[in-house]
Amino acid sequence: MTARVCAQCRYFKGGAASFEAALPGVASLSSAHAALRAGDGHCTLHDRLVAATSCCPALEPAI
């Protein structure tokens, strides 16, 4: 299986708990469960926030 988008990549952390852990303070005045997050997550390879539907040449399928 190949990863086509960031949400399918092993480096993508999109769960609410990991998202809030990556960004301290988010839960004070917002939420990782907010609809407007739209599945965004943290790319641990590039250390950037990325959309679930983004992609890059380094995509690797989640194990």
């Binding site: 005045l29 917002s30 939420s31 609809a35 407007l36 997050r37 250390d47 950037r48 983004s54 040449p57």
Partner: protein, 460 residues
């Protein structure tokens, strides 16, 4: 980072039922429906929607709690079932959310009662400010275990309050006032974003960081920051910096804006519009607007309903005027990031669907609640609505809204740990602060002069 202008392929996006918007809308509309059904059956939700009354002595207050203890017990049980059920659906553990909510409810009763003290206004003991201050002290002194954070979900409680708020605002008011709110909010948002972005670039900051700073100040605070950070592919650390700056400024503004508005003697609607233009996050803004409503209601010549006017003006300005456009900002900035900024190696598939995917869905619940109560009003006629439906339907929903907001205001403080926040950095702070100054002055000018007469008479 490059952008491919096409509709995004389906991905493992968070399901609707994993969002706090979904549960806030469902619970809020269920309560509105319950109120409507009980009214149709000749009954009312009022028994359950109890709140502490105005009091002048502890004996009076104690007598109320003794007499109304079954009502408080029933209300607590209802909230506990609804809240813990929703949080369980979001993935939180009952063994943590149940004690957390019990604590929130107990503290909210105390704060609610303190705010109802007849002399509270003399000492500026506005419940939102009390809740925030109490929460900040409790959590920053390390008095609670972090495990309870699973029940301290600020956004869920505030969104639930917003849906219930919809039931207290006639839909005709939203139609009448919406365009002006949209115009004022658009002017201030674009100018504020421009000032922050330009200042950040002049100070040598990365354009992605500059854009995240800009929307944090111009659109909807922390929520905007995380949405735009992902849309443009900003560094995680940059997003963390912006979040810290927004939280710091938002908390300052919760206390500063209501007292500044009071010092200027602004009518409640004008003050609410100003706060809606100049606060950064919904939760913080509702705290400030509700606090100012309480203050403005006691200003000389304040009309009946002044307290509600502040919250209504805030809602129109912030929720209708600013929040709903976050998807459009995301689309535009992701395209600009592709065309103008240095590549990051990440490709973002942006398209018009971005506007809907990032739409704050709780706003739909707010609108539906408003429509539902407006239909009830049309069904029974104006006179009967004022005489019977207002005390039986609107007033209980307003009380439940006050509880939901109280939970949220308390949780802002309970989840804000100063030592957890990222280092702020002088240049990002300076750029953001430049935008704050322009935003506050421009927002005041538009709220108090250009559209002043409009906001001062909102809903009258």
């Amino acid at each position: 980072m490059s952008t491919v202008m096409t509709e995004a392929a389906p991905a493992r996006t968070a399901g609707f039922w994993k969002t706090d918007d979904a549960w806030a809308v469902c619970i809020g509309l269920a309560l509105v429906a319950l109120a409507g059904l009980l009214f149709a059956g000749g009954s009312s939700l009022a028994w359950l929607a109890v709140t502490p009354p105005k009091w002048t002595s502890f004996g009076q207050l104690a007598a109320h709690f003794v007499a109304a203890s079954p009502r408080y017990a029933a209300q607590f049980a209802l909230w506990l079932v609804l809240v813990s059920g929703a949080l369980a659906a979001l993935g939180y553990r009952l063994r943590r959310t149940v004690p957390a909510f019990a604590l929130i409810y107990a503290l909210s009763v105390v704060i609610f009662a303190a705010g109802q003290w007849a002399s509270a206004v003399t000492y500026n003991l506005e419940p939102p400010l009390l809740a925030l201050a109490a929460g900040l002290v409790i959590t920053n002194l390390g008095l609670l275990p972090r495990s309870l954070d699973e029940g301290f979900r600020v956004e869920f409680y505030i969104k639930l309050g917003v849906v219930l708020l919809g039931a207290t605002l006639p839909f005709s008011l939203l139609i009448w006032a919406g365009p002006v709110a949209l115009l004022q909010a658009s002017i201030v948002s674009v100018v504020t974003f421009g000032v922050i972005f330009a200042a950040a670039r002049l100070l040598g900051l990365d354009p992605r960081l500059a854009s995240v700073l800009g929307v944090g100040g111009a659109v909807c605070g922390v929520s905007a920051a995380i949405a735009i950070a992902a849309a443009v592919g900003a560094r995680r650390q940059d997003a963390a910096v912006v979040i810290s700056i927004v939280i710091l400024w938002a908390i300052v503004m919760i206390f500063a804006l209501p007292f500044a508005a009071a010092g200027l003697g602004l009518p409640a609607g004008v003050g609410g519009a100003w706060i809606g233009t100049s606060e950064f996050a919904d939760a913080a803004g509702f705290a400030a607007a509700q606090a100012y409503g309480g203050i403005a209601a006691h200003l000389p010549g304040a009309p009946a309903g002044a307290a509600e006017q502040s919250v209504a003006a805030f809602t129109l300005m912030k929720v209708v005027g600013r929040d709903v456009w976050i998807g459009l900002w995301a689309l535009i900035l992701s395209v600009v990031a592709t065309l103008r900024w240095e590549e990051t190696g990440i490709t973002h598939r942006a398209g018009a669907g971005e506007i809907w995917r990032r739409f704050p869905k709780f706003v739909i619940g707010f609108l539906l609640a408003s429509i539902a109560v407006t239909l009830i009003a049309q069904g029974v006629g104006h006179a009967a609505f004022v005489k019977s439906a207002t005390p039986a339907v609107v007033a209980p929903l307003k009380n439940l809204r006050s509880w939901a907001f109280a939970f949220g205001f308390l949780c802002i403080g309970l989840t804000t740990r100063v030592r957890d926040l990222a280092g702020i950095g002088l240049r990002p702070m300076a750029a953001f602060s430049a935008g704050v100054v322009v935003n506050v002055l421009l927002g005041l000018a538009l709220s108090a002069t250009v559209f002043g007469a409009y906001w001062a008479h909102l809903g009258q």
